[in-house]
Every structure is written in structure tokens, then in C-alpha cells.
Amino acid sequence: MNHLETNFYEAVSVILFGIGFMNLLLQNNLIKKFIGLNIMDTAIYLFLAAQGYIFGRVAPILTDGVIDASYYINPVPAGLVLTGIVVSVSITAFSLALVQRLYKHYGSLNMDEIMRLSREEEGE
């Protein structure tokens, strides 16, 4: 089954996940690392949301009084993505607060610099 051409939403989301992962590993700046993590999470939500779509059907809100399951798309992935987005926002806020505290103490946003300074402090 070669569904790569039709599954382009999932393919794009997977490439975005890889880009986010590369960001996480390669960037030295802490804020850019957390942006990479955010890109990874958003890519997973795009993947999950794409599982629910069905061609030719409308959004799962009662329209024209039609109560028939073959008229609407699948509502389950939409609900799961809703939960996931809130979790992602909370975690981003928490990690950025950590970055702000680290910057206040060490004066730098560079991860290597911070590790070096903290090892020096610990060695005293």
C-alpha cells in the first residue's frame, strides 16, 4: 500500500517532527531548544488531527438537523488534540519560566555556558 501521495498531511507532520527534533539537539540557545520541543508537539497534533478527516463530510456540529453518522467527520481525534494543545501550552509556559530563572542567575541563555558555570559553582 503506497499511500505516501495521499497521506501528505501525515508526511508533512512527520517531517516537522524531525525538524523540531533537530532543533532540540543542535541549538545552543535554551529558548530555541524549547521552540524545537514546541514544534515537535504541534507536529504530533497535526498528525492526530489528520486521522479524523473524511472526504465529503462536514464538521461534527449538528447542521440541518441531520443525525446520521455518515454525514459528519470523526469527532474523537478533535477532542484528543484539544487536550493535547492545552498540555503543550502549560509545558511551554513552565519551561520558559525556568529559562527566565536561569537567565536571572547566570546571565546567559547558552546551555553549554550555563552547564560550565554551574559545574564551577558546584566544584567550589
Binding site: 517532527f17 554551574s118 559553582e121
Partner: protein, 501 residues
């Protein structure tokens, strides 16, 4: 009201009581009152879980609890059997003793205006761990894994020092990587099976294996989910977050994180193996072999790194890495006997490691805040109770008879006989790691009992009664696990049989 089965409601009550504790504590500004409320809640949950365990083990049943008016697969569900009840009882007892004995460390390390926030996080962490033990739905597991991550990072950074911030950042990034991989696995699994609850997923996967559809996605999904769980429970190549985090947190937090939080992910993994992917699927996809290999290397490398450490807390963190390797070796053997040994080791390690961290915290306090082993000479002579606790904990880790560690090693060795291909590797590595354990524990044990050459000017410490009760409680638990282990392993065995149906 006569036909309400109150005992079946106990998992629901436990989870919701713990989460209620977290919400109410936000309104209370006083740290001491928050502490008392937390202890009361954990005590209630402990008693309820004990009643559940006695009932379910006697009747040998496993039951599901509908969360709401709709049965699975349309609504959420909880599932409880003897293993879940046993784990809940152990977690609540260990939590009770740790927070009771370690409360003084918390009150010293955390700023007074923010102490109640620490107890909010403890309550939420406990509620999330119970939800991971009892859940029957994979997306609920993901949401409570995230609650677990946030609460454990908060426990590490509550101390407020810059080193704890650096440790928390490292821990957070790696934990989020693990959760992200887990969620990706769950999404793909939903795409190919269409269900989110364990029983329906199991049927769908059995169907997929029979008809040989979606073979590649199923393999990748299993890989992602188990790599995600392995990253979060600090299996060998992914363990780098532990030393920085545990070394810079308060001893109470390190004890709870190392003894309980890592294990809750492993229990979720065991439930996934038996309730979603049946054991034959795991064998055919070779995941158990990979976990086995990582477990073996973790056992050796964790001990090697621990030998190089001169700070006691970091040494204990690397020792945790080695013990998690033991548990994954047991799971990786692929037989039910192996998983029984792994579950028993979960209990033994939870009881021992928290005792070690609490005694270590007491030694650091006695030495005036210095953390290197060199500065802790004679600490046990000033504080004999903590010294005896640390010595017994170390002996249990090494595997001296009469203590819990010995029984788990015997079970691992016995279990290896049932998987003939892996028996030689298991026995050799068990022996090597026992020697390595002794090599890194004995120096610290000897150091705390030798009198210090220079007279240290620290005042003789007053041992608070809570700390004494907690240390004696942990020693008693260790001895019980070491001597009366038969009923416990019997409960674990019948429960695994029930789960595998």
C-alpha cells in the same frame, strides 16, 4: 444503596481524593497545615488500598470500574486487580513514611511562603501515580504522565538553588522527549486500530497480526511507546537526567522520585505488555530482547559510574540507574516468572532507595551541608539511627540474606532458568553487578562509621521522632519483604495470570 459495591469504588475514591487534596491545598497558605492534610489523605488512601488488596486477593478477581454512565469503548474505565492494589498499598506506605520522615528537610529547604505549593505537587504526583496504576485507557495514561512530569519537575526545583534549576531543565527536556514519543506512538496506534481502551485495542491488534496488515506501523508503534516509557524511567542510555536532578534536590524529593515515580512508568509498561500487546506479540516483535540488552548494560554501567562518584547523592542516583536495569532485565526475559521477579524488585527497591536517600539527607545535615563522602566520616556515630538505616539499606542493595534485595536476586536467577537462551548472560551479569554494588557501597558505609580525624564543630543533631519512626518503618518493611515474601510473590503471580487473560 444496598447494591453498591463500595470496594469496587475504592480506585475511583483514591484517585479523586488525592487530586482533591491538591486543589484544596492551593487555598491554604501555611506549610504545616498543608503537610498535615497531605499525611491525612495518604493515610486514608493507604487504608482503602489495603482493604481493596485483601478483598481482591481473596476473591482472585480483576474488575473494571466505569467512569461515568457509559461503558468502554465509549467512556473511560479503571481496572483493578491484586497487582494494582498491591502497588497502591506499597506506594502509599512508602509515601507516608518518606514525607513523614523527610518533612523537616522540606521545611528547611523551601521558602516558607511557597511550602504549600510543594504539598500541592506531592498530592498531584500521588494522584497521577495512582491513575497510571489503575487506568484502562491509553490517552488517560498520557494526560496523567504529563501531570507526573510537571509535578516531579516542581519537586526538584522547589529547593530554589541554581543547581536545582539546571537539573530540572535537563530532566524536563528529556522527560518531554519521552512523552512526545509516547504520544506519537499512541496516535499511530489509534490510526491503525481505532480504539483507545485496552481490551478493544488488544482484540484489534490480535486481528492485525492474524491478517498481517500494517506490519511496519505496528512494529514502529511498539518501538516508540516502549522507548518513550524507557526514556521516562531512565533506562540505561537515557539515564543522564538522573544524577543532576537527584543530586540537587531535597532528600525527600529524591527519595520519592527515585523510589516511586520511575516505577509508576514501568508498571504502566507492564500493563501495556499484558493488556494491549500480548506477550506473544512482544516476542515476535523482538522488543523484549532489546529491553533485556539495555537492562543488562544498565546494570553494569550504572554500577561503574557509581563507583566513580565522590558525592553520596549522585552515587545513589547512579545506583538507581543500575536497579532500573535489573527490573528491565526481568521484563526482558519475556516469561511470566521474569515479570514476577521484576515486580518484586520494584517493591524492594522502592522500600530501600527512599531509606538510603533519607539517611543521606540526615548525614548531609550533620556534616554542615557538605555532600562529599569524605566529609561524612563519623556521621553514623553522631546519628546512630540514620547510620543503621543506611547500612541496612546498603546491605539490602548488595543482596545479603534476610533482606529484600536477596530475595529479588534469587527470583531473578530462578526466572532465568525458564528462558534458556538468556540464562548464562543473566547469571554472569547478576554476579558481576553484585560485586560492583558491594564495591561502591562499602566505602561509604565504612566512611560513615569511622570516627573523624578532625573534631567537627557541628552541634550534635537532635533526631526528630518522625524521622526515627520513618527509618524504623522502612527497616521493618525491608525485613518483612525479605522474610515473608511468599504471600507477596503469590499475589503478583495470580495477578499476572489474571491480566494476561
Amino acid at each position: 444503596m444496598e447494591h453498591i459495591n463500595w470496594i469496587h469504588n475504592i480506585p475511583f475514591f483514591s484517585i479523586f481524593l488525592a487530586m482533591l487534596g491538591g486543589i484544596i491545598t492551593a487555598l491554604i497558605n501555611n506549610g504545616k497545615i498543608a503537610y498535615k492534610i497531605h499525611m491525612a489523605i495518604i493515610f486514608l488512601i493507604c487504608i482503602m488500598s489495603g482493604i481493596l488488596l485483601v478483598d481482591v486477593a481473596a476473591k482472585n478477581e480483576i474488575f473494571t470500574f466505569m467512569m461515568g454512565h457509559f461503558p468502554a469503548p465509549w467512556g473511560n474505565e479503571l481496572r483493578a486487580g491484586p497487582l494494582e492494589a498491591l502497588m497502591a498499598v506499597t506506594f502509599s506506605v512508602v509515601m507516608l513514611l518518606t514525607v513523614g520522615g523527610g518533612a523537616n528537610f522540606v521545611f528547611k529547604d523551601v521558602v516558607p511562603e511557597k511550602q504549600h505549593l510543594y504539598f500541592i505537587m506531592l498530592n498531584a504526583l500521588f494522584g497521577a501515580m495512582l491513575a497510571l496504576i489503575y487506568t484502562n485507557d491509553i490517552f488517560t495514561a498520557y494526560v496523567f504522565i504529563e501531570i507526573n512530569t510537571i509535578a516531579s519537575c516542581a519537586l526538584i526545583m522547589a529547593k530554589g538553588t541554581p543547581q536545582s534549576m539546571v537539573g530540572t531543565t535537563h530532566y524536563l527536556i528529556i522527560s518531554l522527549l519521552g512523552s512526545g514519543l509516547f504520544l506519537l506512538g499512541v496516535s499511530i496506534l489509534y490510526g491503525i486500530t481505532g480504539h483507545l481502551l485496552f481490551p478493544q485495542m488488544k482484540e484489534a491488534i490480535v486481528e492485525l497480526i492474524k491478517t498481517e496488515q500494517y506490519h511496519m506501523p505496528l512494529l514502529v508503534v511498539t518501538g516508540f511507546i516502549f522507548i518513550g516509557i524507557a526514556i521516562k524511567s531512565a533506562l540505561f542510555p537515557f539515564h543522564s537526567m538522573l544524577p543532576g536532578a537527584y543530586g540537587s534536590a531535597t532528600p525527600t524529593s529524591s527519595g520519592i522520585l527515585s523510589g516511586l515515580v520511575l516505577k509508576s512508568y514501568i508498571i504502566l509498561g507492564i500493563k501495556l505488555i499484558y493488556c494491549v500487546f500480548s506477550a506473544q506479540v512482544m516476542e515476535s516483535l523482538r522488543i523484549t530482547d532489546i529491553l533485556f540488552a539495555f537492562g543488562l548494560s544498565g546494570m553494569v554501567m550504572g554500577s561503574v559510574y557509581a563507583m566513580k562518584e565522590r558525592t553520596m547523592k549522585r552515587m545513589l542516583a547512579y545506583s538507581s540507574v543500575a536497579q532500573i536495569g535489573y527490573i528491565y532485565m526481568g521484563i526482558g526475559m519475556g516469561t511470566r516468572v521474569g515479570v514476577t521477579a521484576a515486580c518484586f524488585h520494584i517493591l524492594a527497591h522502592a522500600v530501600t532507595k527512599t531509606l538510603l536517600f533519607l539517611c543521606c539527607g540526615s548525614f548531609v545535615e550533620d556534616s554542615g551541608g557538605k555532600e562529599k563522602i569524605y566529609h561524612m566520616r563519623g556521621a553514623a556515630l553522631r546519628n546512630p539511627l540514620a547510620g543503621i538505616g543506611y547500612t541496612l539499606g546498603a546491605l539490602s542493595m548488595i543482596g545479603i540474606p534476610l533482606l529484600a534485595g536477596f530475595i529479588s536476586k534469587v527470583y531473578f536467577a530462578t526466572a532465568s532458568v525458564y528462558s534458556p537462551g538468556k540464562m548464562a548472560a543473566v547469571l554472569i551479569v547478576l554476579g558481576v553487578s553484585m560485586v560492583l554494588n558491594a564495591l561502591y557501597f562499602l566505602p561509604s558505609v565504612i566512611a560513615i562509621w569511622t570516627p573523624a580525624k578532625e573534631a567537627l564543630n557541628s552541634p550534635s543533631p537532635s533526631v526528630s521522632p518522625a524521622f526515627a519512626v520513618s527509618v524504623i518503618g522502612f527497616i521493618a518493611l525491608n525485613l518483612i519483604l525479605g522474610i515473608y515474601y511468599r504471600p507477596i510473590t503469590h499475589i503478583i503471580q495470580i495477578s499476572l495470570d489474571l491480566l494476561a487473560q
